[in-house]
């Protein structure tokens, strides 16, 4: 396989991929306008290529990627559902994309209306009383929610509540966000069913606990049956409940975090509401709260008065601003278009089908892959490569072998509490035929692991690069191109 050149290696002085108009105002010497000692002697060393070179470069790069449109992408916890094309077209409308954030409110009524209406819909879906669209991602929504919890306790003059309880199966962002919001973290164990251990929770609760962060269904893909009891325990001790909305795709129209007893919830528009993941972002992580927490939401809040929408900055108890302007607006446009496309019935069918698909995969694979929690799961199922480990084939090897069959592998080694975890989230979008093909391939790999483990361990064979040396990458980091590292490579 031939190495792909870096754009810098294609550069030649004198080539260009742009055209700009000539200066039509009377031109002055730059040094007469800006103090010469502020001016740069040499231009930054950016690429110099023709437009076709640049277009080919990025086209070739794109071919070295796997996206949802390329093939099945059952990446657990990430909800890699189809990203509707029409939503991209809509977000690109001039009225949405060519709008300055500081334009007068009167000139942005369409955007404000969209944000207002989207907040209301998300409130309805989550059972919260008000939603802020400002957070830029799930982790950012968590942070905002935790700040709200802290501000709430502070406002009651309760300064002792410095701890957040997080289950050991939680996403890494939960403890990290808690720490950034200035909390100490108390970890509680999971019980044999993968739910939160009630006795451990009771022991951990006291008047220093500000709240509990929970994902429900949890990261094992299981709905915590004890949720109302958990909520009571936390509330009785004066704490609040935070809902990590990473797994909301399982319960839309079926169970609402607000009705389960959660006080704060974030949702991921890039997961549940079909907006593209963009190779790692942008996402959007709106955060919703119950009535008593509304005053603490980040400002500005989109409000309406006399049929006019406006940005309300007059929020004396607000935690403050957490993001420039109003959040990732064009992501909101796509999520809004998605909700309108699905309607109330459609959203419920989404969740039902997502759960159906995950259970189908588990049912069809549990004789060849160990299923640590063998019961009805929600929108994702957690398998383990433990049986394959006996012949020396690890979960990583299974994941790599899947690449040869044109699949993006499931999430691996998460949740941390499952040995050799393989977390499969098919989403509702896939057809039965796609699921069956995947199941067949997984069975083939399980067979290969037994009969020819070495072959699985050396995979993949069909990708543009084989397994990469991550140890070397971390020991001697090369984080940018320059002529010397190029020669080394």
């Amino acid at each position: 396989m031939k190495e792909k050149l870096l754009i810098f290696e294609m550069s030649k002085p004198g080539r260009k991929a742009y055209s700009l108009p000539k200066c039509d105002v009377p031109e002055k010497d730059l040094a007469s306008m800006i103090n010469p000692e502020y001016l740069r002697a040499d231009a930054p060393n950016l690429p110099e290529v023709s437009e076709l070179d640049a277009v080919r470069h990025y086209t070739q790069l794109s071919k070295r990627n796997h996206g949802v449109d390329s093939g099945f992408y059952p990446l657990g916890s990430c909800t890699m559902k189809y990203n509707p094309k029409v939503n991209e077209v809509i977000a690109g409308f001039d009225g949405f994309s060519k709008l300055h954030p500081y334009q007068d409110e009167s000139s942005a009524q369409g955007s404000l209306e969209l944000m207002y209406s989207l907040s209301e819909m998300l409130s309805e879906i989550t059972g919260m009383d008000q939603v802020s669209l400002q957070p830029a991602a799930g982790a950012h929504g968590e942070l905002a929610g935790l700040m709200i919890i802290k501000a709430y306790h502070r406002n009651r003059n309760d300064h002792r509540r410095i701890k957040i309880i997080v289950p050991d199966s939680a996403h890494g962002t939960n403890p990290a966000s808690s720490a950034v919001a200035g909390f100490e973290i108390v970890e509680v164990k999971s019980n044999a069913d993968g739910g939160i251990d009630i006795e451990s929770l009771k022991r951990a609760m006291n008047d220093e606990v500000a709240g509990l962060m929970l994902t429900n269904p949890n990261t094992l893909g299981l709905f915590d049956k004890n949720i109302t009891e958990i909520a009571d325990i936390v509330h009785d001790a004066g704490g609040l409940l935070y809902y990590d909305g990473a797994n909301l795709n399982a319960v839309m129209g079926i169970a609402r975090p607000g009705d389960m007893g959660f006080d704060v919830a974030h949702v991921n528009l890039h997961k549940t509401f079909s907006t593209p993941h963009g190779g790692g972002g942008p996402g959007s992580g709106p955060v919703g709260v119950k009535e008593s927490l509304i005053p603490f939401l980040p400002y500005p809040v989109v409000s309406m008065k006399d049929q006019k929408y406006y940005l309300d900055y007059d929020r004396p108890l607000s935690i403050g601003k957490i993001k420039s302007f109003y959040g990732n607006f064009s992501v909101m446009v796509k999520a809004y278009a998605y909700i309108l496309s699905m309607g109330s019935e459609g959203l419920k069918t989404v969740s039902e089908t997502a759960v159906l698909n995950a259970n189908y995969i588990a049912a069809k694979l549990k004789d060849v892959y160990y299923v640590p929690y063998d019961r009805i799961c929600m929108h994702e199922c957690v398998l383990s490569g433990a049986w394959q480990m006996k012949s020396g084939v690890s979960t990583l090897d299974i994941a790599k072998r899947l690449l040869d069959f044109g699949y993006h592998p499931p999430t691996i080694y998460f949740p941390l509490i499952v040995h050799e975890a393989l977390m499969v989230e098919p989403t509702e979008c896939e057809s039965l035929e796609t699921l069956d093909e995947f199941i067949e391939v997984m069975r083939t790999i399980a067979h290969e692991a037994e009969t020819d483990p070495g072959m699985v361990k050396n995979s993949p064979y069909t990708t543009v690069v084989s397994r990469l040396d991550e140890v070397q990458a971390a020991r001697k980091p090369v984080l940018r191109w320059n002529k010397d590292t190029n020669q080394e490579a």
Partner: protein
């Protein structure tokens, strides 16, 4: 059935049987009866694609967009030209429907483009390492402050009053929830007051945050400020406009330890405030303290060059509550747009954009002053944005201009009560002489 779902009714019945349950409801038997929603969600019924497009189109047309209105508004988000090829390439599904490059063998496109992005950001800023981007310029600045505090084991951050008001607000929000003290350094004539800076530096100062060109568009004397900060063994953190760095000395050359900034101007549409990207670069010394994702170069088993996410032990999925930041994603597609922009414009093009913007801004400034209706507020060198004092109230001025299909400047009194009548005007390479002349004429009427 929705067009976005792949399971038919008969598929469903078959699958339920294979799973060994009787009904859809039994898949949800773990959901307690008292939380099971016994009604439909109060969401409107589904729209067809045609109905959806019509509804959204009419909603978008309630906005006044910049194709029909001429924009002289900046204040942190800028109306620069974006080559058509960028939008076309960004819409390749392999880029936008992929997620985080967890499996490098099938993510070399994303990984290599980030590696190239990191290189370009280092070139612009004069730094040695860059991450894969953050939510926006303001949160990048806040993350830099937190990183500095942790790295220096000091609990106070100084921030220049001439830093973007939104950035200062976000910094304060984060700081109030952790043990971090924020102290503002006064501005004098639109730039940092060096005397006040000297007075406020102390043993507990982790860093100074400064922006250049600052919120008023003025180029700060970074070299002097940096020297003062370094005498106190504090870190010097600069927020920069990436376009300006094509012609201005890089903050790295002027002593910065960390350089961050809002990257929107690099090929990202204004989109009513987001999504944008924050760039974050630093001296190599701080490589292992950086927040966010980083891509590194390595080789595969056959010795072929490839790219991976690296130094991951800094991040939340491994270090959990001890992570340097809770950030989990980057602004992938926005960073890709930025990398494409820097590729298409390239070495000469970015200089031209910066030069044209500066020329036109200075022309507009001169023309506004010539009308006699506007007076200078600061007498300092600026790049593409400047403040003038208007004798008419700014609000009325802007609504008058709006009637003329012009989006006027930012009212400074919103954030600086002392600058009554302050009007912040931004002029990019997109503005023609005719547009500027009309703007000046109408503003002075």
């Amino acid at each position: 059935m929705s067009r976005y779902l792949g399971i038919t009714k008969s598929d469903r019945d078959y699958m339920l049987k294979e799973i060994g349950v009787k009904s859809m409801r039994s898949l949800f038997s773990d959901v307690p009866e008292q939380v099971y929603l016994d009604r439909e969600l109060n969401i409107p019924p589904a729209l067809s694609e045609m109905e959806l497009v019509a509804k959204m189109k009419s909603m978008s047309e309630k906005n006044l967009d910049l194709d029909h209105y001429t924009c002289f508004l900046g204040a942190g988000a800028y109306d620069h030209f974006i080559p058509a090829a960028i939008g076309q390439l960004l819409s390749r599904q392999e880029f936008f429907t992929a997620y985080t490059p967890y499996q490098p063998e099938i993510s070399q496109g994303t990984l290599q483009s980030i590696f190239e992005y990191q290189t370009m950001i280092c070139e612009l800023t004069g730094m040695e390492v860059s991450n894969a981007s953050m939510y926006d310029g303001a949160t990048a600045l806040t993350e830099a402050a937190i990183m500095a505090s942790e790295a220096m084991k000091r609990k106070e951050i100084l921030v220049a009053g001439s830093v973007h008001p939104e950035s200062r607000k976000i910094l304060k929000t984060y700081a109030q929830f952790r043990d971090l003290k924020i102290t503002e350094v006064r501005s004098e004539e639109g730039t940092i007051d060096q005397e006040d800076l000297r007075n406020k530096l102390n043993d507990n100062t982790a860093a100074l945050l400064i922006q250049s060109p600052n919120f008023f568009g003025i180029i700060e004397d970074l070299a002097s400020a940096g020297e003062i900060v370094h005498q106190n063994k504090s870190l010097f953190i600069v927020s920069a406009d990436p376009i300006s760095l094509a012609i201005l000395k890089s903050p790295g050359e002027l002593g910065a330890d960390i350089v961050v900034g809002e990257g929107q101007a690099l090929g990202n549409p204004l989109s009513f405030g987001g999504p944008y990207l924050g760039f974050f670069a630093a001296k190599e010394k701080w490589m292992r303290k950086l927040p966010g994702r980083i891509v590194g170069q390595t080789k595969d088993k056959e010795g072929i060059r490839g790219f991976v996410l690296t130094l991951q032990t800094r991040e939340q999925h491994i270090r959990r509550e001890k992570a340097t930041s809770n950030i989990c994603s980057n602004q992938g597609l926005n960073a890709l747009a930025a990398a494409m922009y820097m590729t298409f414009l390239g070495k000469e093009g970015l200089r031209e954009v910066a030069g044209l913007s500066a020329q036109k801004a200075h022309y507009a400034y001169g023309q506004l002053l010539n009308t006699g209706k506007f007076t200078p507020i600061f007498n300092k060198p600026f790049f593409k944005e400047f403040a003038v004092k208007s004798e008419q109230p700014v609000e009325g001025l802007n609504s008058k201009l709006l009637n003329e299909h012009i989006i006027g400047g930012y009212s400074l009194v919103r954030d600086y009560p002392g600058i009554d009548g302050g009007w912040l005007i931004s002029v990019t390479e997109k503005r023609t002489k005719d547009e500027i002349d009309k703007f000046v004429r109408k503003a002075a009427e």
